[in-house]
Amino acid sequence: MLTKEQIAQRIAQELQDGWYVNLGIGIPTLVANYIPEGIEVEFQSENGILGMGPFPTEDEVDADLINAGKQTITALPGASFFDSATSFAMIRGQHVQLTVLGAMEVAENGDIANWKIPGKMVKGMGGAMDLVASADNIIVAMMHTNKRGESKLLKKCTLPLTGVNCVKKIVTNLAVLEVLPEGGFKLIERAPGVSVEEIQKATEGKLIIEGEIPEMKF
């Protein structure tokens, strides 16, 4: 089973040179720590920066320079600042090549739910609905099951949706899966030491297994 860091590390293998990438809060944020050698990517944060750098040192902290998670950040050489409409023009206009975000539930048709739990305080969708409706390439980073041990990969989402038919790939603590256009989670890789049976057991939606399923490599 993968740690959160390893999920991020596995997702980082998907990065391609020259991509602009938007990382959600939580596990997705960690992806920035594992950019493969020889690959250059640039991070967009939807509050209005391209070319987001690492957290600042104590001396560098600037209240006017934060990311979408409201954390203080730095700007790399070549960065740019812009307003929120331009920021979402980049997202909606598909100029951002990859979006990585967390989810509470993903359905076998690519539907995603990650913003609202009925009966609980609703904090709002922030930019998540724009991101999932727009991105050509969405990877969900999440645990395979919830705290009660129930599958988060479902036939149909039970929570209010964030977007429909949009998730293309999922990386969990157990596996890498693709959402097929015709529906279903196609198993691509297993986490080291995790069996196909374990993944099957943790997956409520339709799991498609073809041939040998390799273990992830790091």
């Binding site: 690492p54 203080t72 709002g124 609905m129």
Partner: protein, 231 residues
């Protein structure tokens, strides 16, 4: 065309109970601190506030919430505020949640005389309820309408006497869009300079969108999540 007023008190003098107000900022970054303090002082109530977030318990719009001055919030994310939660769950506060990109674009549209536009954001979700759906390029989109306000209140880094504004870093966020969408737009700035001192090529908000400007004071610029690296 001198638009300078003395302070937040003068700038906000005709903001009245029940009005709709847009307030720039993302989290606590780039919020009009002086004007918010003035609205608290003024005890104006029944406000509809359009702002991406709702501040924290003891800063930003949280100060207005605490005094029950806000009737309705129009935001994309409101999650750092216990009092907000209490008022929402008890039904004292109406909340309209809007995807962040749609919120930004709807403000811009309001300022740009575009009454409505199609966006893919929110299709198939509760955000789309009651909205027209239409397919473009094989993909469903929903029709969103423009937002405007009686007053827009924005915070800039530098401004000149004609209302031209320059924002700093990510404190820009919603400010330029809301500046366009206010029937009256108030700008508070960290540094107010005479017309001609800002490079016309570097202006983010042309003065035509701003009706009143003042030199703000005592900016706290509180940081919500100070995150540092050690090296």
């Amino acid at each position: 065309m001198n638009k300078v007023v003395k302070d937040a008190h003068e700038a906000c003098k005709d903001i009245q109970d029940g009005m709709t107000i847009m307030l720039g900022g993302f989290g606590l970054c780039g919020i009009p601190e002086n004007s918010i303090a003035e609205l608290v002082e003024k005890e104006v109530t029944g406000l509809t506030c359009i702002s991406n977030n709702a501040g924290v318990d003891d800063f930003g719009l949280g100060l207005l919430l605490k005094k029950h001055q806000i009737k309705k919030m129009v935001s994309s994310y409101v999650g750092e505020n216990d009092e907000f939660e209490r008022q929402m769950l008890s039904g004292e506060l109406e909340v309209d949640l809007i995807p962040q990109g749609s919120l930004a674009e709807r403000c811009r549209a309001g300022g740009a005389g575009i009454p409505a536009f199609f966006t893919p954001a929110g299709y198939g979700t509760e955000v789309a309820e009651g909205k027209e759906v239409r397919e473009f390029n094989g993909k469903p989109h929903i029709l969103e309408t423009a937002l405007t306000a009686d007053f827009a209140i924005v915070k800039a880094w530098k401004g000149d006497t004609e209302g031209n504004l320059i924002y700093k870093a990510t404190a820009r966020n919603f400010n330029p869009l809301m500046a366009m969408a206010g029937k009256i737009t108030i700008a508070e700035v960290e540094e107010l300079v005479p017309a001609g001192e800002l490079d016309p090529n570097e202006i983010h908000t042309p003065g035509i969108f701003v009706q009143r400007i003042f030199q703000g004071k005592d900016y706290e610029k509180r940081i919500e999540k100070k995150t540092i690296r050690k090296d």
